[in-house]
């Protein structure tokens, strides 16, 4: 059922830019149109690009926003998961909880 919804009307998550638009809905309470325009503005692309996995592969790679690792395109030298979320927080100017926790919990002991 989730697969049918994803194919019929979904943005594709991190296969495209659905995760980025979702973050703006969650953290800034933006409706879809505003959230898409905000993310597209920050990335310098069109709102249609945000659901296009081909366009977003390049844009995500250029900005270090994380790529789906798969057999034909494993890229261990690129930012992944937590590293990508640091870059997403910076690029979109959005609070990402685990990134802030990571900074706080590492810097606290580094300084001590």
């Amino acid at each position: 059922m989730e697969g049918a919804h994803a194919q019929a009307a979904g943005m594709g998550g991190m296969r495209a830019a659905g995760d980025l638009v979702a973050r703006m809905q969650m953290s800034k309470r933006m409706r879809l149109k505003e959230a898409k325009e905000y993310v597209a503005g920050k990335l310098g692309c069109s709102t249609r690009d945000l659901s296009d996995p081909v366009a977003m592969e390049l844009i995500r790679k250029e900005n270090g926003l994380g790529l789906v690792a798969m057999t034909s395109s494993t890229q261990p030298g690129e930012p992944g998961m937590m590293e990508a979320k640091f870059n997403i927080a910076e690029k979109l100017d959005v609070h990402i909880n685990c990134v802030e926790q990571f900074k706080e919990r590492t810097s606290k002991f580094a300084q001590a």
């Binding site: 979904g10 809905q25 969650m26 937590m82 959005v94 909880n97 685990c98």
Partner: protein, 344 residues
């Protein structure tokens, strides 16, 4: 003779109907919803659009390129293909869900409370392994606080005995406990890195259940201005099990989606999830027209995202274990194109 088109009933069974029969069901669905909720019927253009979507033998349908919406996903994963975090990863990389949700099978904040450290550890691992935002979800589930499962006298037993005041007092007492538990679990999940909290199937036990979710939401918003908070409903109508409870001076019992949206927005939620239950004895065409009619007044005035509940018995998707893609994709397209919703 008018050709017959394969379509679905609300229980998922495949039937054949003529275009005229589907059109008649769409009209009947919007009429009954308009009468019940005292809202306008769908316009002729909207009914014609729904007929285009539903009077088709196509196995699958979809929105136009560029019109895609965000998929939050309560209860992400099957729990049968690995561990829960692997489920979340599968949904991120293979299914393409935008906002997966960590959850446990006993989907209730009261139940999670007893296991919160382990749930928090799973959230922490999920945050390390996923790029998508991950929320934690459970039901408010107020009934868990009533005897014999909980410490509070059972209002469902008190009400038939006519002990109305005691039943109301019991719900208020349970409501306070539930607010504490939602806050307790949420604090732990946020400490573990959660991006959001989902209160799913809210209002299942009536207006006191809804009040607890709204109250907890407001408290969470004050502590965490950045937090994603999704309040998804249990049904189109808030049952008045108490009958007199208010939030910001608004009586909760009897609220339809537009009024639900207003209090959910005032409480500080990020996302409102309306739910309209399926009538299994009617066609999916009848059900989708009814659901869209109920939700349309909310969609027209919303200032926060609306993620309609569309799965297994709500939002035009049949009540069955494996909802067929033909019915699911039609519901997807209908909500996006008629209501301009923000997600599912």
């Amino acid at each position: 003779m008018e050709p017959r088109i394969p379509t679905r009933m609300g229980d998922g069974s495949l039937v054949e109907m003529t275009s005229s029969e589907i059109k008649a069901d769409l009209e009947a669905g919007t009429q009954i919803a308009a009468k019940k909720a005292r809202v306008p019927e769908l316009t002729q253009d909207e009914l014609d659009h729904l007929l285009d979507i539903y009077a088709s033998p196509a196995r699958f349908t979809s929105v136009d390129l560029g019109d895609e919406v965000v998929l939050s996903n309560d209860g992400t994963g099957t729990k049968h293909i690995g561990n829960r975090v692997q489920d979340l990863q599968s949904y991120e990389t293979i299914v393409g869900v935008d906002m997966p949700e960590l959850w446990q099978a006993d989907y209730s904040y009261k139940a999670v409370k007893t296991n919160v450290a382990h749930e928090g550890q799973s959230m922490k691992i999920a945050q390390a392994l996923l790029t998508n935002p991950v929320q934690y979800g459970a039901m408010p589930d107020l009934g868990r606080y009533s005897q014999p499962d909980g410490p509070i006298p059972n209002w469902s037993e008190l009400l038939p005995m006519g002990r109305i005041d005691e039943a109301r007092d019991a719900q208020v007492a349970a409501c306070k406990m539930l607010v504490d538990d939602i806050n307790f679990v949420s604090d732990a999940m946020i400490e573990a890195g959660a991006d959001g909290i989902d209160m799913d199937t809210t209002g299942a036990a009536g207006d006191a259940d809804f009040l607890a979710a709204l109250t907890a939401c407001r408290m969470l918003r004050e502590r965490y201005p950045w937090l994603g908070i999704e309040i998804g409903m249990a049904s189109e109508f808030v049952l008045g099990m108490h009958g007199q409870l208010e939030f910001d001076g608004k009586r909760l019992a009897g609220m339809w989606p537009k009024e639900q949206l207003e209090v959910v927005t005032a409480a500080g939620a990020s996302i409102y999830g309306p739910a309209v239950n399926i009538n299994t004895g009617k066609s999916t065409a009848w059900n989708i027209a009814r659901a869209i009619t109920f939700i349309k007044p909310a969609a027209e005035v919303a200032t926060i995202p609306i993620h309609v509940n569309v799965g297994m018995g709500v939002g035009g998707v049949p009540t069955c274990l494996f909802p067929p893609a033909d019915a699911t994709s039609r519901a997807s397209k209908a909500f996006v194109e008629i209501l301009k919703i923000d997600g599912y």
